[in-house]
């Protein structure tokens, strides 16, 4: 693959032609904050936290989906970019109801860590306090829309890795919600395989494992029915 040379924060780096600015920056220890990005999933440039400045470009571009080119001059941290990032995280905090103190994900939350790292100690926008519903109908997992940042990691991993495509997004703009199947309660979803990949990739406490304490003592025995059912079907198929 052809090699190219580009400048990131006044330092020259060589890279492969197909690499994104984000990949190159991370390879060389330049820290660009991200939220929707997840290594291994298709990048979508949704959260805009990885915006960087390109010399000669009138507006900043998302580093996660912008391919590097020969002679590019990239700035990853400027006063303007830092201000934009703060504003973006503040808008995320204001849109849903992120109350860390009562959240299952407290101290293990990417949004919280991001806010702390950017030095966000207050939010300049009014909170919407939407009082969105929760969906705890699935046996092992639950979804709290109030903590969702619409990063769509769950949608992407469910589609591309698990192949179930249980999740997608309903509506548009600020009324968007993650939905299972035809906006059914997650517990009655017929496509969900219960694999938990979405829960593992969720950056906040929107998707979480139920029963952090006593509930975890519950035995998982549904496998038996699944296996017997499959055998029964296989036997049926043979007898046909």
């Amino acid at each position: 693959m052809p090699a190219i040379t580009l400048t990131i924060n006044n330092e020259l780096f060589s890279a492969r032609k197909e690499q994104t600015i984000l990949e190159i920056a991370r390879e060389h220890g330049v820290d660009i904050p991200t939220l929707c990005h997840f290594e291994g999933l298709e990048a979508m440039g949704g959260c805009r936290l990885c915006l960087v400045e390109l010399q000669g470009s009138p507006r900043p571009v998302p580093a996660c989906i912008t391919k590097a080119a020969e002679g590019m001059v990239v700035t990853t941290h400027s006063d303007k970019l830092i201000e934009y990032r703060k504003m973006l995280v503040e808008l995320l905090l204001a849109e849903r109801t992120h109350t860390c103190s009562i959240c299952v994900q407290n101290n293990n939350c990417e949004l919280q860590a991001l806010a702390a790292k950017l030095g966000i100690d207050h939010v300049r926008f009014d909170y919407l306090h939407q009082q969105l519903p929760m969906d705890a109908s699935r046996e092992r997992f639950a979804l709290d829309h109030n903590r969702c940042v619409l990063c769509l990691r769950c949608v992407r991993v469910c589609d591309a890795v698990e192949g179930a495509h249980t999740w997608d997004v309903r509506g548009r703009g600020s009324t968007s919600r993650v939905v299972a199947d035809l906006d059914r309660p997650w517990g009655s979803s017929t496509s969900c395989t219960d694999c938990g990949k979405c829960v593992q990739l969720c950056p906040t406490g929107a998707l979480y494992k139920k029963g952090a304490t006593v509930g975890e003592m519950k035995k998982e025995r549904s496998f038996l029915n699944r296996i017997l059912e499959r055998r029964r079907l296989a036997a049926q198929g043979r007898s046909l």
Partner: protein
């Protein structure tokens, strides 16, 4: 699939479904024909029920959530049956300046629903439109596709009451 069929008996017996089936067949059940199929489905049924969306998803071999996402993304598609009567208030610039906001507010109050909703008894759907191209009648509205204007909040509410009191057949 056999399990799905049992759930869909009511839908399967519906003659309107034939139109949708024909459209899907014509488009060779291609997943990327989804929007066109949804157009046909809405034209045939007036709205897109969950059952119908589920059927389309199964036929086009698309995830249900994706079909639902598309159906809710576009304002053209509606997931609820439309009311027997419709009242659309123009909120385009000219009508808005002339007081469409107040008219809409009064109509919402009178009907007990918000714009974009249908009354619980299915009698009336209240909607808004961005300019119906009749700015000289501002502020204007349409009742069952008949254009009226210029309106006042009082005259608009009066029309609404008239509409809901007169049985559909005679009206």
């Amino acid at each position: 699939m056999s399990g799905d069929c049992c759930k869909h008996t009511e839908l399967a017996d519906d003659p309107r479904l034939k139109l949708v089936e024909r459209a899907m067949k014509r488009l060779q059940y291609q997943p990327d024909a989804l929007i066109e199929v949804l157009h046909t489905a809405q034209e045939a049924f007036g709205y897109l029920s969950r059952e119908l969306l589920g059927h389309v998803a199964a036929q086009l071999k698309l995830p249900e959530s994706q079909v639902f996402g598309v159906a809710t993304f576009y304002h053209f598609f509606t997931l609820r049956p439309k009311g027997e009567h419709s009242c659309i208030v123009c909120t385009g610039t000219a009508c808005y300046v002339k007081g469409a906001g107040e008219i809409l507010g009064r109509l919402e109050q009178a009907a007990g629903i918000k714009a974009g909703q249908t009354t619980a008894d299915g009698k009336l759907s209240l909607g808004t439109a961005r300019c119906l191209g009749n700015c000289s009648l501002a502020p204007m509205l349409t009742v069952d596709d008949v254009v009226y204007g210029p309106e006042t909040p009082d005259s608009a509410v009066e029309k609404l009451h008239g509409l809901l009191e007169v049985p559909h057949e005679q009206g």
